[in-house]
């Protein structure tokens, strides 16, 4: 594929992720922070987000499997996940966490377990989409092109 085609594909894909609510304006903030001297910034932050999230989701699964659920602990984990997803603009995951926290407050185990499933699903989706986006970016750069950030209307 030519660079121009790849760039067009990048723009379309990015726009669709915003349109479908996977990403919000905060992700654009991350993109703005990427430049020639920090060409991998987005990939690095996103990678940290993945590591963090996987750990938290695993901790949440464990915590909700317990005989007597420690809702304070569950809430603390969800709060962290909400924070990091919010910081990178992973909107669906963030919104799932907001719903999750209210079930924690109610001490509703089933509600929490449903939320956990929802978060896992949305996390998995955004993860594969971000990975695809970053791969496309790397291909563009490898082919000598630049990421056309300016084509995304803010």
């Amino acid at each position: 594929m030519e660079v121009v085609q790849m760039q067009r594909a990048w723009v379309e894909y990015t726009k669709s992720l915003f349109r479908e609510g996977f990403l919000d304006a905060q992700f654009q903030q991350l993109q703005l922070l990427q430049d020639e001297s920090n060409p991998d910034f987005v990939a690095e932050v996103v990678s940290l987000f993945f590591e963090d999230s996987e750990r938290l989701l695993s901790d949440l699964t464990f915590a909700l499997e317990q005989q007597s659920v420690d809702f304070k602990k569950v809430d603390a984990h969800v709060h962290q996940l909400k924070g990091s997803s919010s910081s990178i603009g992973a909107q669906r995951v963030k919104n799932d966490c907001i719903a999750f926290r209210s079930f924690c407050e109610e001490q509703n185990v089933e509600g929490c377990q449903r939320c956990l499933q929802q978060v896992k699903q949305d996390y998995s989706l955004v993860k594969s989409k971000l990975e695809a986006l970053i791969r496309l970016e790397q291909q563009i750069v490898a082919a000598g092109g630049s990421i056309p950030m300016e084509e995304l209307s803010f």
Partner: protein
Amino acid sequence: MFHIHCAGLCSSASVLVICCKQSFYYSFSYSYTGLPLALPRGENMDGGGGSRENVTAGGAYTEELHVLAVDDSLVDRKLVERLLKNSSCKVTTAENGLRALEYLGLGDEKRTSLEDNVSKVNLIITDYCMPGMTGYELLKKIKESSILKEIPVVIMSSENIPTRINKCLEEGAQMFMLKPLKQSDVVKLRCNLMNCRS
């Protein structure tokens, strides 16, 4: 797109506009062209000490701020570090209050002489919700210390709770910022600091 809104008390409106505009143009140009502008941004980001005078596009001078950023979230530390570095700040990060205090020379070992680190840090920015010592508790410790109390402390939080905000401001926090942080927040921050310094 970049809404420059500097909340807080401004003694000089024109100075405020100038400093905001500079930071705005600086960030804007740097981000959109993708080409590093030939602006001296304080080369020694990771070493050296003392403030340095930088000339920005508008011709005015900005000092290089050394900021200590405290947050238990790795993602947020990375984000705040990049945001600050893009604004010509030297950044040191700490993952909790204790580490922050150690860096500032208020660790378990009481030191009688001023630590090098202390004289270098111009600003502390900390998350509110942290396990162990909260950002509020860290703020208190800093304000209680005769050697550290003059350093401005900014609190960040993902939760917009007025009582929390007031509590921090009453304890001497310079500013309270809502997460997630954006470039415009750092602009606001610099305006706020420059205004207070003049």
